[in-house]
Symmetry: C2
DNA sequence: TCCAAGTTGTAGCCAAGGCTACATTCTGTG
DNA sequence: CACAGAATGTAGCCTTGGCTACAACTTGGA
């Protein structure tokens, strides 16, 4: 099990409020992750084929079309996307800007992983989840690191 | 908005099933993240003060005690923790083993961030969210990279 | 000793993000 | 030009991870 007696080994722990804030931020990041994924995907589909249809989005995300449509509704409420029934999904100015930021961050994260020796497939896979937790500060550091390495 | 006409610029997109699998895995990783955070924290509290009380756990995570207790119940169902009413929380063999793995991974991720130039506070913050998405393959690569740099 | 205050546990609510099942609308082809 | 099949949309359900409010238990100090 685990140390039953009084504390033997000691461990460095962050102060309580510090730690709470960290976990809180991680939770927040998680809740914006979905919007970010959708917006980036929609932007890619638009750029790639000129249209983003709910069914394509659903298939790409590995999710039922009903789920995709529900989430697209949320994007509309958040002012990131627009869509008229049966007419495909498009991004607002804000949505396109977010997509651009997300895409750039994705690229940097993948590049960083590759630069430290992660194989390509794993880099793409892990970046998908990690990117949502990379702060601007870290992102900037990644950029500097990559430029330094050429 | 976004390219209204037929596709002008083209973008490299992964094959549909590949992309779906990536997003799916990212979703899966997310659902184990909570257990991992709890188990690591419980292990730290046990090592640090000899006991892990629900209220402490809740405060550390920045969450209500009711939420913490509910989640501890899940850990029990998953065979990661044991707890008798009013007697604090302990980890099973499996829980302790998971905690150890999670802690090690956390350390490596923070070290990697530091090594590429992320300032300490941001490294701790970002690692909190990122770590749950780092595959064993990437983890190994991180380790090699860190050793190479000394 | 005993009781007030803190801790722990329970109940019930909510929103998010999944799903299936069914209804509606489009559209390409015979 | 009609209609079958695909795409889209809607309804309703489930689980998870939050919350507040209240109830029950423990325990240190007066």
């Amino acid at each position: 099990m685990a140390s039953p007696g009084p504390s033997t080994r000691r461990i460095e722990m962050p102060a309580e409020p510090t730690q709470a804030k960290r976990f809180g931020k991680a939770r927040t990041a998680q809740s914006s992750a979905l919007s970010e994924d959708y917006v980036e995907l929609i932007s890619d589909l638009l750029a790639d084929g000129g249209e983003a249809r709910p069914t394509d989005i659903a298939r790409r995300l590995g999710v039922s079309h009903a789920t995709a449509i529900k989430t697209i509704g949320r994007l509309k409420r958040e002012g990131l996307a627009v869509a008229k029934p049966y007419r495909g999904v498009f991004l607002t100015e804000a949505g396109e800007k977010l997509a651009e930021r997300v895409r750039a961050r994705h690229r940097v994260v993948v590049d960083l992983l590759l630069a430290v020796g992660v194989p390509a497939e794993a880099a793409e896979q892990d970046a998908e989840g990690m990117e949502h937790h990379v702060s601007d500060i870290s992102l900037a550091a990644f950029g500097r690191f990559l430029r330094r390495k050429q």
